[in-house]
């Protein structure tokens, strides 16, 4: 496509028109410095609308930066014939992809914007090709759903404090509920699996107790843990997880606590480990004895004998 290069008044460009915009936020800080230093190397692509104003196809940051620098006019590229919306979107995607991979939110926005242009049976293959996505329909659907996230949850995805999998779990929630999780995950770093686990705990507690999700996350206990100054971020994350697990599984966690309390009373040394059946469902306990030599083994034997005589063991096994 041969573009016409010309200069237009910057006021004729509608910077609010985001129909071809893929990025969530336009950060002009770095580009302003670049334009100040070497000028506008690559003019943005714009198209004329029926109302004689221009929509930006490629170069939102460049236009915004020039505007911020107080330019009245800006050099631009204009396609010779007015392209279709689909062509403009393709152009915007290819332009972005030519200098960096699209982030998850941009991919999601692109899927949403492109979808109306393709029949359902072609949508997946055409769009994955355009976006350079792997041909995995499950992943495609997950990325697509991110569009429904609140602004702060989207930001969490961009900042990598909210994982794709966790983001997908949040999609069905109200925006304010998503914000609560986004805040929690931004404040305390959780691994991808822990994020999913926490979301599940909170959702299920809310259903079990017929309370709101916000109410669970903003509970005094969680706020208290976040506000503590005597523990670090990882410890806080661990405490919150433990608190939610206790609330989700009150009987199980109580039984676990009781077991560990009893275990302490057995006063086992570091070489003997008593492991209860998983979730106390079976009836088989495991004992692991580790030793280096005969002396250590004999020491373990005395400890083991003492444990067998201890009435606490009977209580544990009853």
């Amino acid at each position: 496509m041969n573009f016409e290069s010309r200069t237009v008044s910057i006021n004729e460009i509608d910077t609010q028109d985001s129909r071809y915009q893929l990025s969530l936020h336009i950060d002009t800080h770095t580009i302003i410095e670049s334009i100040k230093a070497v000028g506008l190397i690559n003019p943005p692509v714009i198209v004329k609308r029926d109302d004689d104003h221009y929509s930006i196809v490629c170069g939102f940051r460049r236009v915004m930066a020039c505007k911020a620098l107080g330019w009245d006019e800006i050099p631009v590229c204009i396609p010779p014939r007015r392209p279709t919306d689909l062509d403009c979107l393709k152009l915007a995607i290819l332009d972005n992809r030519s200098h960096r991979p699209l982030n998850l939110i941009e991919q999601s926005r692109a899927i949403k914007k492109l979808s109306p242009f393709f029949p359902p049976q072609e949508r997946f293959s055409k769009i994955t090709f355009l976006l350079g996505l792997p041909e995995n329909e499950k992943v495609f659907k997950k990325i697509e759903s991110l569009c429904q996230l609140s602004e702060s949850a989207k930001l969490g995805i961009l900042e990598n404090t909210l994982s794709l999998e966790a983001g997908v779990e949040l999609v069905e929630l109200e925006p304010e509920e998503q914000d609560c999780f986004a805040f929690l995950f931004r404040t305390l770093k959780f691994s991808q699996n822990k994020q999913k686990e926490l979301i599940t705990f909170v959702k299920e507690i809310a259903i079990r107790e017929s309370v709101g999700i916000k109410e669970v996350i903003n509970s005094e206990e969680i706020r208290g843990i976040i506000d503590r100054s005597d523990i670090n971020r990882n410890q806080k994350a661990k405490e919150i997880r433990a608190y939610l697990r206790r609330r989700r599984f009150p009987s199980l966690t109580k039984a676990e606590a009781k077991f560990f309390e009893d275990l302490k009373s057995l006063r086992l040394g570091p070489h003997i480990r008593l492991v209860p059946p998983p979730y106390f469902e079976g009836t088989t306990y495991n004992i692991t004895i580790t030793f280096k030599d005969i002396t250590e083994l004999e020491q373990c034997k005395s400890e083991f004998d003492a444990m067998c005589q201890n009435p606490v063991l009977k209580r544990i096994l009853s």
Binding site: E204, I207, R208, F249, P250, S251, L252, A255, P278, Y279, F280, E281, G282, T283
Partner: protein
């Protein structure tokens, strides 16, 4: 109870059977297609957004190419009742949130097997001799036993069949009240009519299109009048706020309507499910809370209530039943010795094992003859 069969598919190999014609006559308002391949039915069911629901609306009349008698799929660790499944069909038009059949078949399709000569032949093979072990045989594992009654003659074929022998009982287990056909059948006490029982709250929220508790108990009372031995299955017992007084009231009401002496057995089983069922319940029953109990992975990989919670509920239910029916055989469906011992005070092994306990009850109530093979 409403039944919405939207289409019938008939396997071309069974179109000539008079039974097929009879079913089609009873469902003549439903469009019917003859198919050469089950795949046509599968594709039709899988085409929609919700194959689990779609499978309830599509009736496939076909031939069972496999065995009609199967062993109940028990697991090693938990005590299994050891009964045999008589495979008359699959799936169900009722819609219980917790139903395992939603994940058991892929896709689940309402299938009814027309080659009943083969079914009777399979029964003959184990029952023709007067000598041999006792069998407890049920049709309510892969489907509800009585949903087929309005359209088929199944009970008219199998109830008299069982009446004519003395080594096996047939258990028809249902959440419907389709008992009309049973009234005049010669059953010779060899057919146990069983009902799955739950609280009105659970029936209302989790058992769509099933009969009410009162109707089920009423149907049981009617069957008792017709001389049938009865059984009840408190399965799945579900923990919820206020479940205890509700279950107590169910027990009270049940024994007000039926006599303990005519109950062959009562089974108890708390809600358990394979993990994939959770997502299905979330999608298909968004208002259901039953999956949010304190579930832990069991030794059979099913999710089960944390054991002390199960024991606690079992103890109460056993106590309430014992108060009014001390001699009725109570048993747990898939529980371990630990639960048995804690709740019942004995483990099945002490009484010869669960299958034997059930056999004895069947011998007593259904006048079976124990023979040595």
């Amino acid at each position: 109870m409403s039944v919405h069969i939207s289409r019938i598919y008939v396997d071309q190999g069974i179109t000539h059977l008079p039974e097929t014609r009879a079913i089609l006559d009873r469902l003549k308002h439903v469009p019917c297609t003859v198919v050469f391949d089950y795949k046509v039915v599968q594709d039709e069911v899988l085409r929609g957004d919700d194959p689990v629901t779609e499978g309830k609306r599509v009736l496939f009349l076909t031939r069972n190419k496999g065995a009609f008698l199967k062993d109940c799929p028990g697991t090693k660790y938990y005590n299994c009742c050891g009964y045999k499944i008589l495979h008359i069909g699959t799936y169900c038009y009722m819609d219980c949130s917790y139903c395992i059949l939603q994940t058991y078949f892929n896709p689940p399709v309402l299938q009814y097997f027309m080659n009943q000569e083969d079914l009777l032949h399979d029964l003959d093979r184990i029952l023709v001799s007067k000598q041999g072990p006792i069998y407890r045989i049920g049709t309510g594992e892969f489907t509800d036993s009585l949903i087929w009654e309005p359209w088929t003659d199944i009970s008219m074929r199998i109830v008299p069949y069982f009446a004519a022998q003395e080594r096996a009982v047939l258990e028809l287990k249902s959440k419907t009240v389709h008992i009309k056909n049973l009234k005049y059948l010669r059953h010779n006490s060899k057919t146990i009519v069983a009902f799955s029982i739950n609280t009105p709250a659970i029936i209302k929220s989790e058992e769509r299109y099933t009969a009410s508790l009162k109707s089920r108990i009423g149907a049981a009372a009617m069957c008792e009048e017709w001389g049938y031995p009865l059984a009840f299955h408190f399965d799945p017992l579900i923990l919820y706020d206020g479940c205890e007084p509700d279950y107590r009231e169910v027990i009270r009401y049940m024994f007000k309507r039926v006599s303990a002496e005519n109950i062959v057995w009562i089974s108890l089983g708390t809600f358990r499910f394979m993990p994939p069922l959770k997502r299905i319940i979330q999608q298909r029953f968004p208002g259901s809370k039953i999956i949010y109990g304190e579930f832990i992975p069991g030794l059979d990989n099913k999710m089960r209530y944390f054991k002390p919670l199960r024991i606690d509920l079992y103890k109460k239910i056993v106590e309430w039943i014992r108060e009014v029916a001390p001699d009725v055989l109570l048993y747990f469906c898939m529980e371990d010795d630990d639960v048995w011992h804690t709740v019942m005070g004995h483990v099945p092994e002490e009484k010869g094992g669960l299958p034997q306990m059930l056999d004895e009850a069947a011998i007593r109530h259904c006048r079976l003859t124990r023979t040595v093979s």
